[in-house]
């Protein structure tokens, strides 16, 4: 019943996964654990995923709610054209990004979550969804039509005063009676 937009959910998941990757990467680098290079990669990957996923897409039908301050991100993401519009590209991109995170303990969780997000994006792409930028509506002031400046010179045609007088004896019937007969 109704059209479910999987991309919206995938977007929330991808944003959360980006943050988890980022946190895991910071912990891995700070603790100087074994394989900390993967953690450094995870920091960069997490930041990239967050920037890519922050601007929400416009809904196919209905009102869209955008995230605070997302306009500048929308402009950046929009500039890549079909690469960011297409959800197949995003699905494969996320699948590729998440793989190196699986080699280090601190970033494993971010890797798995981003993998799930990539699967949901694939499902959204198969159903034909795509990313649309939310642009602020510009309400252009339309100039009024030209003839508004010239009001009509003559009053509208009215029947003669005798037929215009109110029929007080039959108010109910008068309401439905036309003073001038209507031709079929």
């Amino acid at each position: 019943m109704g059209k479910i937009e999987w991309a919206m959910w995938a977007n929330e998941q991808a944003l959360a996964s980006g943050l988890i990757l980022l946190t895991g990467g910071i912990v891995g680098v700070a603790g100087q654990f074994r394989g900390w290079q993967f953690a450094a990669y995870a920091i960069a990957a997490g930041v990239f995923v967050c920037l890519l996923e922050y601007p929400r897409s416009k809904r196919a039908k209905g009102t869209s709610v955008e995230r605070t301050g997302q306009y500048c991100f929308t402009v950046c993401v929009k500039s890549f054209g079909p690469l960011t519009r297409n959800y197949y590209v995003r699905a494969f991109l996320h699948a590729a990004i998440c793989v190196p995170g699986g080699f280090m303990l601190a970033t494993v969780l971010g890797c798995v979550c981003l993998g799930i997000a990539s699967i949901i994006y694939l499902a959204a792409a198969i159903r034909g969804e795509h990313w649309e930028p939310i642009v602020p509506r510009k309400d252009t002031v339309r100039p009024p039509p030209a003839d508004i400046k010239n009001p009509p010179q003559n009053p509208p045609p009215r029947p003669p005063p005798e037929t215009r007088r109110k029929r007080v004896e039959d108010l109910e019937g008068a309401a439905y009676d036309n003073p001038i007969p209507v031709k079929d």
Binding site: M1, G2, I4, E5, W6, M8, W9, E12, Q13, A16, V27, F33, R56, R59, G62, V65, L105, A106, V108, L109, V112, C113, I116
Partner: protein, 530 residues
């Protein structure tokens, strides 16, 4: 200043008190468990191996236990409706707190997410320490099979590790689908993902099986830090004699405790869902369908043994439209002794309501003349679940009430007015102010019959002294209205009930919290439609 503090306390005090109690319970539990593991003698050797990670992970686990058990309770709607109905058990303050049950559920859910992050991070550190500080002195204490075992392997081959991974994944799915946007636009994703909670709880109860963390059982015979037979310290031999261990240290894993916390609320919630399923398995009989202007349809129904109080709502399920979707609607007429039918007014907004009204009403055909319907209409099968309680039930329990409705939000108050029309006796309510704001004039036709009947009743009977009824164009000026109400009801407690768009409810909430020179206290109660 003092007056606004008084208003604020009257409105917000109860909620903040419960919040402080809950935060206090969480903090106390965290500190108690932390100190137990930090200073407990039976954890001495484990602490030496794992460090602070063990204390933090166990402390966050106990907080998680508490919140996982509390999170289910606000969702037992039939139970809460029952508590709301029994005035003997609960006072008005308690019933007002029940209005915030969904907020409490969200608070517990958020704290589960936060403490899960803490718990998982601490356990990841523990796993690394299990691997790095593999203990040869106390082999029973180890989780790793050999020194330097890959921590990822440890996670994937132990029960706590694998169950923990699944728990985190389910929590991630539930958390990401609970955001405001997904709930508003794709409610099905939220609903189906949230029902994974049952899998979450089952896995949670087996999470501790396998016993990764062990405690020492024989502290008297083997005080921690004592010297074993082949060790000696640098001090005199006499001291060495006292500090010899009686026997080897024995370790035992903890008995899983989560089921003690969680099974009670889980059974209660499952029993409630089962009860609701049984109660709603009987389909209702649709008696009439009336079309009103501005896309509103009134539905009158009949069901055996259906009792409801004014202000309550029901949840509709129509398998002909969608098998799994359930939509809440407030009752506009409740069944009484004289009349058994009850009704709802529904506004056609989304695709479910559109499809539902198409099945109920004949489509206007442009080519034929409109003839009165003589044949029997075959209505679709309809199930209702409920009734469930809402804040608007409290209108009768104040001396003076102000009801503010925006658009279709008038439905709970329409039910209240119907109940008052049947007989204004037995209620504490003495005076009712009713404000109804609509975008279009035609919307007032939804309840034209009700309003006219009320007007006639108040004109004809002397018991009811009607206040003036006014029809005004433009937005109401709430501050002036409240000042007027305050002046005529000095030093009284007035209940303000709002059911409408966010703009109105925010303004009214602020007004209720602000100072009043007339000494009137306005208590704000809000009902929101999803």
């Amino acid at each position: 200043m003092v007056a606004s503090l008084r208003s604020w306390v009257a409105n917000e005090g109860g909620k903040h008190f419960v919040l402080i109690l809950w935060l206090g319970a969480n903090t106390w539990l965290f500190m108690k468990t932390f100190l137990l593991y930090f200073t407990g003698q039976q954890y001495h050797y484990l602490y030496k191996m794992l460090g602070l990670g063990m204390c933090i992970s166990r402390a966050s686990a106990s907080v998680l236990n508490l919140n996982c058990s509390l999170v289910l309770l606000p969702m037992c709607r039939s139970l809460l409706t029952f508590v709301r109905g029994t005035h003997a058990v609960s006072s008005r303050e308690t019933r007002r707190l029940l209005d915030k049950s969904k907020t409490f559920h969200v608070a517990c859910g958020v704290s589960i997410c936060i403490f899960s992050v803490v718990h998982v991070s601490a356990h990841l550190v523990n796993v690394v320490n299990f691997s790095v500080s593999y203990s040869d002195d106390f082999p029973a204490l180890n989780l790793a099979r050999y020194k330097g075992e890959d921590p990822k392997l440890i996670i994937l081959t132990t029960i706590p590790g694998v169950t923990g991974l699944f728990l985190v994944l389910i929590l991630f799915l539930m958390f990401t689908s609970s955001s405001y946007c997904v709930r508003l636009f794709n409610y099905e994703i939220f609903w189906y993902t949230h029902n994974l909670f049952i899998v979450f709880y089952i896995i949670l109860m087996v999470h501790m099986v396998g016993g990764a963390l062990k405690y020492q059982t024989n502290i008297e015979a083997h005080p921690p830090g004592c010297l074993t037979a082949n060790q000696s310290s640098t001090s005199q031999r006499r001291e060495d004699e006292e500090r010899r261990c009686g026997e080897e240290a024995h370790f035992q894993p903890h008995y899983p405790q989560t089921w003690l916390w969680v099974s009670g609320p889980l059974c209660l919630y499952c029993a409630e869902r089962f009860y609701r399923y049984i109660r709603s398995s009987d389909p209702v009989t649709i008696v009439t369908v009336i079309r009103h202007p501005c896309d509103v349809v009134e539905l009158r129904m009949l069901k055996k043994n259906f009792k409801a109080r004014p202000g309550q709502y029901v949840v509709l399920n129509c398998p002909g439209v969608s098998s799994f979707e359930n939509h809440p609607f407030t009752l506009t007429t409740c069944p009484t002794e004289k009349k058994e039918t009850f009704g709802i007014h529904l506004r056609v907004v989304g695709d479910w309501t559109e499809r539902f009204t198409q099945m109920l009403l004949p489509q206007p055909r442009m080519d034929l003349e409109i003839l009165p319907m003589v044949q029997q209409r075959r209505y679709p099968k309809l199930y209702i679940d409920g009734p469930f309680g809402s804040p608007s039930e409290e209108v009768f329990n104040y001396d003076v009430s102000v009801c503010v409705a925006g658009g279709i939000g008038v439905t709970p108050f329409a039910c209240v007015l119907h109940a008052l029309l049947d007989g204004w006796t037995g209620f504490r309510l003495q005076r009712l102010y009713f404000v109804w704001v609509c975008r279009e004039l035609q919307s007032f036709y939804w309840f034209s019959e009700l309003l006219c009947a009320l007007h006639h009743k108040s004109m004809s009977e002397e018991k009811y002294r009607p206040l003036t009824s006014r029809l005004l164009v433009g937005r109401p000026r709430w501050k002036l209205l409240f000042d007027e109400i305050g002046k005529t009801n000095k030093h009284k407690r007035v209940g303000v009930f709002c059911c409408g768009p966010k703009g109105i409810s925010k303004t009214l909430h602020k007004l209720c919290n602000s100072a009043r020179s007339s000494g009137t206290t306005f208590e704000f109660n809000k009902e929101s439609f999803g």
